[in-house]
C-alpha cells in the first residue's frame, strides 16, 4: 500500500528543462544603481523610479519576517540577478517570428500557442523571463475596451491608470517581500476593465522562470471599474535545477462598485527533489480591495509546486454588501512547505466572505492554513464562513491550522470549522471490494476531497488541476 503511494510521490518533475536562449542578465546584487539601471532599461518615467527607490530605502530598514512556520536558509539578496530579458529586441508581429527554441519550450509545457485560435476565449500574455514576448487577442479585447498588456507597456501607454492604482492595495511598505518587489519588479500584467464591460474572454498568463538564479519579481494589477466583470487565470511551471529561486510577486486587485474579479491560480513550480534540494521559494503578496458597494473578489488557488509556498491572497471588503471568497487546494509532498491562507477584512456593512481551504500533506512535508477573519466595528451584519480541512498521507508529514478570528461588531456572524482526516484502509478496502484498484480509489477520494474548490476553477483549469493532483500523488497512497 505504502509502496504504491511512494511511487506516486516519487514521480519526477515533468516540466524540468532549461531552454537555452541567450539572456540579457544584469550583474548580481542589489543597490540603488541596479534599480536605476532596471528603470532605465525599461525606459520608465521618473515617478516610477521614485516609487522603486522609496520602496528600496524602506526595505533596507525592514527585518526578515520570522513569524511563520516555514523554514529556509537565509537568502543572500546580493547573490540574485534582478533583471533578465531575452535578447530578441523587436516586437513580433506573428507567431512565425517567435524563436523556435521558445516555441518548443511551450510545446513541452503544453501552452497552447498553436491552438490558441482554436481554443477561442483564451488570450495568453506569455511572460518568458521578464519581458513580454507575445501578446494575443489584443484586438478583440481592445474592441471591448479592455486593456490587457504587460505592465511595462501599460506604464508607457496608460501612465495615469498605472500611477493611480499601482501600490494602492499592496503599498510599497506593506511587508518585506512586497517592498523588495516594489523596488525591483521587472514585469507583470496590467488589466483594466472599464465601466460596465464584461470581459469577452478569460484572461490567462503563463509565468515561467527560465534563467538560473534569476529571481522573478512580477507585479500584477487588475482594475475593474463600476459593473465590470473579469476572470483571470494564472498558471506556472518552472524548469528543474538545483539552486533555490526566490519568487516574490505582488498581485493587486481593485474592484469598484458592482465589479467582479475572479482570480484563479494553478501553481506547479519546481518543488525540489525528493530530498528537499532545490525548488522555488514562492513568497507572494496577493490582495484585493472591494472598494465599491456590491463588488466581489474571488481567489481560487491550486498550489502543488514550490519548495515553499508562503502567501495569503486576501480581500479588503470596504464597500457595503461586498463579497470576498477564497478557495484553495494546497498539496505538499517530500520536503515541501506551504503556509497559506487568506485574510478577510470586513469594513463595510453586510459584507460577506467564504473561505474553503483543503490541505493535503504527504511525505515529510508541512502544510499550514493561516488566516484572519476580522470584522471592524462598523461592519454591521458581516458574515463569514470558513472551512479548513486537512488530509494527511503518511505519518511523517504535518498539517496545521491557525485561524485568527477578530470580531468587533456584535451583529457579525463568524463561523470556522476544521477537520483532519486520512485516506483510511477501510475506505480503500471498500473500493477494492467493488473492484476498484488503489490508484483509482485514491484519485477518487482526493478528487472528492477537493471538489468544493475545483468546481470554482474555470473549465480548462479544472481538468489540468485534476491531472496535476493525480500526477503529484501517484503512488503516494496505499
Amino acid at each position: 500500500m505504502s509502496s504504491t503511494l511512494q511511487q506516486l510521490i516519487d514521480q519526477p518533475y515533468q516540466h524540468g528543462f532549461v531552454t537555452d536562449i541567450e539572456s540579457d542578465v544584469v550583474a548580481r546584487g542589489l543597490n540603488e544603481d541596479v534599480i536605476r539601471l532596471i528603470s532605465s532599461k525599461k525606459d520608465e518615467p521618473e515617478w516610477l523610479l521614485e516609487f522603486r527607490l522609496a520602496a528600496y530605502r524602506h526595505w533596507l530598514t525592514m527585518t526578515l519576517p520570522e513569524w511563520s512556520t516555514v523554514d529556509y536558509p537565509a537568502i543572500d539578496f546580493q547573490a540574485i540577478s534582478y533583471y533578465a530579458a531575452p535578447k530578441a529586441k523587436k516586437k513580433l508581429a506573428s507567431m512565425d517570428e517567435v524563436d523556435p527554441e521558445l516555441l518548443r519550450t511551450f510545446e513541452k509545457l503544453g501552452v497552447p500557442i498553436h491552438e490558441q485560435k482554436a481554443l477561442a476565449g483564451v488570450a495568453v500574455d506569455v511572460i518568458f523571463d521578464s519581458v513580454s514576448v507575445t501578446t494575443t487577442y489584443k484586438k478583440r479585447l481592445a474592441e471591448a475596451g479592455v486593456i490587457f498588456c504587460s505592465l511595462s507597456e501599460a506604464v508607457h501607454e496608460h501612465p495615469e491608470l498605472v500611477r493611480r492604482y499601482l501600490g494602492s492595495v499592496v503599498g510599497a511598505n506593506d511587508n518585506y517581500y512586497a517592498a523588495l518587489n516594489s523596488a525591483v519588479f521587472t514585469e507583470g500584467s496590467f488589466c483594466f476593465i472599464p465601466r460596465g464591460v464584461k470581459c469577452p474572454m478569460e484572461l490567462s498568463t503563463y509565468f515561467r522562470i527560465n534563467t538560473q538564479e534569476s529571481g522573478q519579481f512580477e507585479r500584477t494589477l487588475i482594475v475593474a471599474e463600476e459593473g465590470a466583470d473579469v476572470s483571470y487565470l494564472e498558471g506556472c511551471t518552472a524548469p528543474q535545477f538545483d539552486t533555490n529561486q526566490l519568487h516574490a510577486a505582488v498581485v493587486e486587485l481593485v474592484a469598484l462598485e458592482r465589479a467582479s474579479i475572479k482570480y484563479s491560480t494553478v501553481q506547479n513550480w519546481y518543488a525540489g527533489d525528493a530530498n528537499g534540494v532545490g525548488g522555488i521559494y514562492n513568497f507572494v503578496t496577493k490582495r484585493g480591495v472591494c472598494k465599491g458597494a456590491y463588488s466581489r473578489i474571488s481567489w481560487t488557488q491550486v498550489e502543488t509546486g514550490s519548495a515553499i509556498t508562503w502567501k495569503y491572497p486576501s480581500c479588503v471588503l470596504e464597500g457595503d454588501h461586498s463579497v470576498g471568497e477564497f478557495y484553495s487546494v494546497a498539496l505538499t509532498n517530500h520536503h515541501q512547505q506551504a503556509d497559506t491562507g487568506t485574510k478577510m477584512i470586513h469594513l463595510g456593512r453586510n459584507t460577506r466572505s467564504t473561505i474553503i481551504s483543503k490541505g493535503i500533506s504527504a511525505g515529510q512535508s508541512k502544510n499550514s492554513y493561516r488566516g484572519l477573519v476580522q470584522v471592524g466595528p462598523k461592519a454591521e451584519g458581516a458574515r463569514n464562513y470558513s472551512q479548513c480541512d486537512s488530509m494527511l498521507i503518511g505519518d511523517r508529514c504535518a498539517a496545521s491550522t491557525f485561524p485568527y478570528l477578530r470580531v468587533m461588531n456584535e451583529s457579525a456572524r463568524v463561523e470556522h470549522e476544521a477537520t483532519t482526516s486520512k485516506i483510511g484502509a477501510d475506505q480503500l478496502f471498500y473500493f477494492a471490494s467493488r473492484g476498484v484498484d488503489n490508484e483509482s480509489a485514491v484519485s477518487m477520494i482526493i478528487n472528492g476531497f477537493v471538489k468544493d474548490v475545483f468546481t470554482q476553477l474555470p473549465m480548462e483549469f479544472a481538468v489540468e488541476a485534476s491531472k496535476l493532483l493525480g500526477l503529484k500523488l501517484e503512488g503516494s497512497v496505499g
Partner: protein, 452 residues
C-alpha cells in the same frame, strides 16, 4: 524585566520579596532566589509577545501591591479572619458537599477555617506546613515535583510565583485512594491591594480519584493581584475532576497557570469559569503523556463593562489512543474583551488520537470584542481532529420561538443568554456550587443592558 523602573508592580513585588521570612528548608530559599534571578533574566510579557498579543498587562504594571510576609503577624491575618463579620462572609462561600476544605485568606493559609485530611493513603494539607516539616515524607516528594511541569524556562509570571513559594495546597493520593467528596480550595481576598502567589500541587498515584474545586472569591470591590500556579500529576488510570472558579473583584488582576500531566489511561475533566476580575488570564496546559488518556477541558467566561478575560489552552497529545474534548464559551457585554487561544497538538506517533474543540462566543454589545484563535497542529496521520469556532449574537429564530410563546423579547434574550452559560455550569457536578453560579449568572444577565 531588566528595567524595573517604570514598573511599579514589579518594584512592589521585589520590595515585598525582601520581607519574606527565611524558609526552614534551605532548598526553598535556593529555589526562590534562583527563580528571582531567572525572573530578572526573563522579560515580562508585553503585547509584542505572540501569546500576549491581545492582552495588555501595562495596566497591571502600573499598580503596586502589598506582599504579606509570614513574619508580620499583623499583615498576615489581614483585617480579616478574626472579625466575625468577615468570618461569616467567608463561611457563606463554603460548599456543604465538600468533604475537605482548605481556606486561604489573602493568600495565606487559615487553619481555623480549614479541614485538612490525613487518612490512609490520603494527604490534603497546606503547602507551607509541608515545606516547614522536613521530616514529613511528603516534603521530599514536593521538593522533587514542584515546578516540574509548570516550567519556569520562559514564563516570567510562573517564575515569579516560584520566587514567592510559600503558600498553597498539596493534595497527594496513593494508589487506589479516593477522596470521599469534593475538596474545596477556597482562596478569599479579604482586603484590597494584596498580591498573592498561591501554588497548588496535586499528585494522584495510579487509579486514585479526586474531585477538586479551586475557588477564588473576593469580599471587597478593590484591586488585588493573584498570580497562581497549579500543577497536577495523574498516574496511570487516575481520575480527576477539576473545577476552577474565578469570581474576583471587578478591579482585580488574576493570572493563573495550570499544568496537567496524564499517564496511561488517566482522565482529567475540567471546567474553568471566569466571571470576575478586571483582567484575567488562564493558561491551561494538558499533556497526555500515556496511551489512552482522556482530557475534557471546558471553559466559560462571562464578562461585561471594561473587563478582559483571556484563556489560552494547550492540549498536547504525545501518545497514541488519546481523546480530548473541549467546549469554550465566552459571553461579552459592554466593552468587554474576550480572548481565546486553543491549541491542539498531535505529536508524531500519537496515532488514533480523537480530539474535538468547540469555541463559541456570544456578543451582546457593539463595543465588545473577541479574538479567537483555535489551532490544530498535527504530525500524525491516523487521527480524528476537528475544531469549530463561532462568533455571533442570539439566534433570531430562537428568540422568535420564545416570543411566539408570549415571552417579552428582553426576557427572552436574558433567558437565552442564561441558557448559553448554564450549559457549562451544569457540568460542575456539585449542586450547591452550580446553584450559586446559576444565580450569579442570572444576576449578571439581569443587569445586562441587552438591546431589545
Amino acid at each position: 524585566m531588566k528595567a524595573t523602573s517604570g514598573n511599579p508592580w514589579l518594584e512592589s513585588l521585589l520590595a515585598g520579596h525582601e520581607g519574606l521570612p527565611t524558609a526552614s528548608a534551605s532548598w526553598v530559599d535556593v529555589r526562590r532566589r534562583g527563580a528571582l534571578e531567572q525572573a530578572h533574566a526573563l522579560a515580562l510579557p508585553t503585547r509584542t509577545d505572540e501569546a500576549w498579543r491581545f492582552t495588555d498587562l501595562s495596566s497591571l504594571y502600573r499598580m503596586a501591591f502589598k506582599v504579606l510576609g509570614q513574619s508580620d503577624p499583623a499583615g498576615v491575618r489581614s483585617v480579616s479572619a478574626d472579625t466575625p463579620a468577615v468570618m461569616g462572609r467567608i463561611a457563606a462561600h463554603q460548599l456543604p458537599e465538600a468533604a475537605h476544605r482548605l481556606v486561604f485568606v489573602d493568600g495565606i493559609y487559615e487553619p481555623g477555617l480549614s479541614t485538612a485530611c490525613v487518612a490512609e493513603g490520603i494527604r490534603v494539607c497546606s503547602l507551607a506546613d509541608v515545606l516547614a516539616a522536613a521530616a514529613d515524607p511528603l516534603h521530599e516528594r514536593v521538593q522533587g515535583t514542584l515546578g516540574r511541569i509548570a516550567g519556569t524556562d520562559d514564563d516570567a509570571l510562573a517564575t515569579l510565583n516560584m520566587a514567592f513559594l510559600q503558600q498553597g495546597a498539596v493534595v497527594s493520593l496513593e494508589r487506589h485512594a479516593q477522596l470521599t467528596g469534593p475538596l474545596h480550595l477556597l482562596f478569599v481576598s479579604a482586603q484590597a491591594d494584596i498580591a498573592a502567589h498561591p501554588r497548588v500541587l496535586v499528585m494522584l498515584d495510579a487509579h486514585a480519584q479526586a474531585h477538586i474545586v479551586e475557588d477564588h472569591v473576593s469580599l471587597h470591590a478593590g484591586a488585588g493581584c493573584v498570580n497562581a500556579v497549579t500543577e497536577i500529576l495523574l498516574g496511570a488510570g487516575a481520575s480527576l475532576r477539576h473545577a476552577r472558579i474565578q469570581r474576583d473583584s471587578g478591579a482585580a488582576f488574576h493570572i493563573a497557570r495550570c499544568a496537567v500531566e496524564l499517564q496511561r489511561d488517566a482522565r482529567y475533566e475540567s471546567v474553568a469559569i471566569a466571571l470576575g476580575a478586571r483582567l484575567s488570564r488562564l493558561d491551561l496546559d494538558v499533556h497526555l503523556r500515556g496511551e489512552g488518556a482522556h482530557a475534557s477541558v471546558d471553559g466559560l467566561a462571562m464578562i461585561a463593562g471594561g473587563q478582559l478575560a483571556d484563556t489560552h489552552t494547550l492540549i498536547d497529545h504525545a501518545c497514541a489512543h488519546g481523546t480530548s474534548r473541549q467546549t469554550h464559551k465566552v459571553i461579552l457585554a459592554g466593552n468587554a474583551q474576550g480572548v481565546f487561544n486553543g491549541r491542539i497538538l498531535v505529536r508524531p506517533g500519537a496515532q488514533q488520537t480523537d480530539s474535538s474543540q468547540q469555541s463559541r462566543t456570544l456578543l451582546l454589545s457593539d463595543r465588545a470584542r473577541i479574538d479567537a484563535k483555535p489551532q490544530l497542529e498535527i504530525f500524525a496521520d491516523d487521527v480524528k481532529c476537528a475544531h469549530g469556532a463561532t462568533v455571533g449574537q442570539i439566534e433570531a429564530d430562537e428568540l422568535f420561538y420564545l416570543v411566539s410563546r408570549g415571552i417579552a423579547p428582553p426576557a427572552a434574550r436574558r433567558l437565552l443568554t442564561f441558557g448559553f452559560a448554564a450549559d457549562l455550569i451544569n457540568r460542575l457536578g456539585i449542586a450547591s456550587l452550580e446553584q450559586r453560579l446559576r444565580e450569579l449568572v442570572l444576576e449578571q444577565t439581569e443587569s445586562l443592558r441587552i438591546p431589545a
